[in-house]
């Protein structure tokens, strides 16, 4: 009989706890907006922050509670997600502007040679703090892969030139890498834009020539030859105004160093 008392005490405690928890979960239940769950289902769950919210959960919450009215902010999800979300909310979906990131560096600044031997932490951010990195060009991609680590989709690799290479079919256009790059080399372009300047050097042409065979030397040929007048030189670097650019590719043909790239590398539905 002695064993009964401890058993009963434990049992009683367990029952009291169970009742307490059950009662609490009924009385203190928090009503979740009934639209939240279906909207959250539609979103891809990458938590990339491209919509401007801290994650899919908070975007879904803002939509469900009516704080956010635009259902087309999810760039990774694209048009499909926007339509599904809009259907739940009962509104019209606008087209999602799909974007993709590219690295504005070709890495031809003598990739096999370094300015000095860098032995610090293997991150671009740290390397950039000592004399703007070990590359001869201070604007170059440092190739330690901060963007690669930050990419939620594993779309970035470091190529043989020691430059980050973004796979446009994997890139979801979230823009996390844009903020991570200490040199500001990564830019987002819309899916309709087809010509990019793959250089970020603000040095004078003669200086660029010393170490890079592939950098913008600010010769101005593209500026003169562009039929739309869409290119200007800003700080010794060709800059394309995408409002005017028609993607004709003339600039690519006249560029003597080949730092302007053209291609349909953004066409197709690369988000699938």
């Amino acid at each position: 009989m002695e064993i009964l008392i401890p058993v009963l005490i434990l049992l009683a405690t367990a029952v009291i706890c169970a009742v307490l928890l059950t009662v609490a979960s009924i009385f203190f239940a928090v009503k979740e907006n009934e639209k939240f769950a279906p909207i959250r289902e539609c979103l891809p769950g990458a938590n990339c922050g491209a919509c401007g919210y801290s994650g899919c959960d908070s975007y879904a919450k803002a939509l469900a509670e009516g704080e956010e009215t635009n259902p087309s902010l999810c760039i990774p999800g694209g048009d499909g997600t926007a339509k599904n979300v809009a259907a739940i909310l009962g509104v019209e979906a606008a087209d999602v502007v799909e974007r993709v990131a590219y690295v504005a560096c070709n890495g031809a600044c003598r990739p096999e040679e370094k300015k000095y031997i860098y032995t610090g932490p293997k991150t671009c951010h740290a390397a950039n703090m000592s004399f703007s990195g070990d590359r001869f060009c201070i604007y170059a991609c440092l190739g330690y892969g901060d963007c690669m680590k930050a990419c939620p989709r594993g779309a970035i690799e470091i190529n043989e030139n020691g430059v980050a290479d973004i796979n446009p079919t994997k890139c979801i256009g979230c823009g996390i890498c844009v903020d991570v790059c200490p040199n500001g080399l990564i830019h987002l372009i819309k899916d309709t834009e087809r010509v990019v300047v793959k250089c970020n050097s603000r040095k004078k042409g003669a200086d660029v020539r010393k170490y890079c065979s592939n950098g913008c030397i600010a010769c101005g040929k593209c500026v003169k030859n562009c039929p739309e007048g869409a290119i200007t030189l800003v700080d010794n670097l060709a800059v394309i105004d995408y409002d005017k650019c028609t993607g004709c590719g003339t600039c690519k043909d006249v560029c003597p160093v080949g730092c302007i790239h053209e291609g349909c590398f953004l066409c197709g539905s690369h988000f699938e």
Partner: protein, 199 residues
């Protein structure tokens, strides 16, 4: 005045000398699991401190008014596990309803703490050490702060390790464990400090 001094000693002993993570090796699971980022480590530390205080406040009376009169002291472990687990769930529900901001900050960590050995350890040790209720609470607070300190310190250490080229065989958990042992060794330096102060 003498009593206040004793309470301070109990508090500081919990933080430094008897640091649960680094000296008693309790609560290693969250210590290794949630110490990757400073913010998370801090949130976890605060949550553990909070749960330790609440757990002590509940288990202490249970022990002395339920178990001791029935001569069932040997039930303390299983009863405490039961009560703490239920309590943490209850606190989570209440927080979600009444203080959503705090729930958003601590909510993720609360389920992790339901059967945390550091929480159970502090409630059991308070009784073994013969503390009264006030001393128990102070001791829990100290241990909680000690846990927070260990988490925050180790989050800093880990962020440095992440950027260092560890040998292939040491990458990940092995190098983290080695780092933890070195941090633990550093805390060994605190042992005997209070004995010297008191003498």
């Amino acid at each position: 005045m003498e009593y206040l001094k004793q309470l301070t000693l109990i508090l500081m002993a919990g933080v430094l000398v008897n640091n649960y993570v680094l000296q008693k090796f309790l609560g290693i699971c969250p210590f290794l699991g949630v110490s990757k980022k400073f913010n998370q480590a801090f949130g976890m530390g605060i949550a553990v401190t909070f749960v330790m205080l609440v757990a002590t406040a509940v288990t202490y009376p249970l022990y002395f008014y339920l178990l001791v009169p029935n001569k069932l002291e040997y039930l303390e472990t299983i009863l405490f596990i039961l009560v703490i687990a239920a309590l943490v769930q209850f606190v989570e529900i209440v927080l979600k309803k009444f203080i959503p901001a705090l729930h958003a900050a601590l909510g993720v960590y609360l389920p992790l703490i339901t059967t945390n050995c550091a929480v159970l350890g502090v409630t059991l040790n308070n009784i073994t050490d013969g503390y009264n209720f006030l001393e128990s609470m102070i001791s829990s607070l100290g241990v909680g702060i000690g846990f927070l300190l260990a988490m925050v310190l180790f989050a800093g250490v880990r962020s440095r390790i992440e950027n260092c080229p560890a040998p292939e065989c040491m990458k990940g958990l092995p190098v983290t464990l080695v780092a933890a042992s070195i941090v633990s060794l550093a805390f060994l330096g605190f042992s005997g400090v209070f004995e010297t102060l008191l003498a």
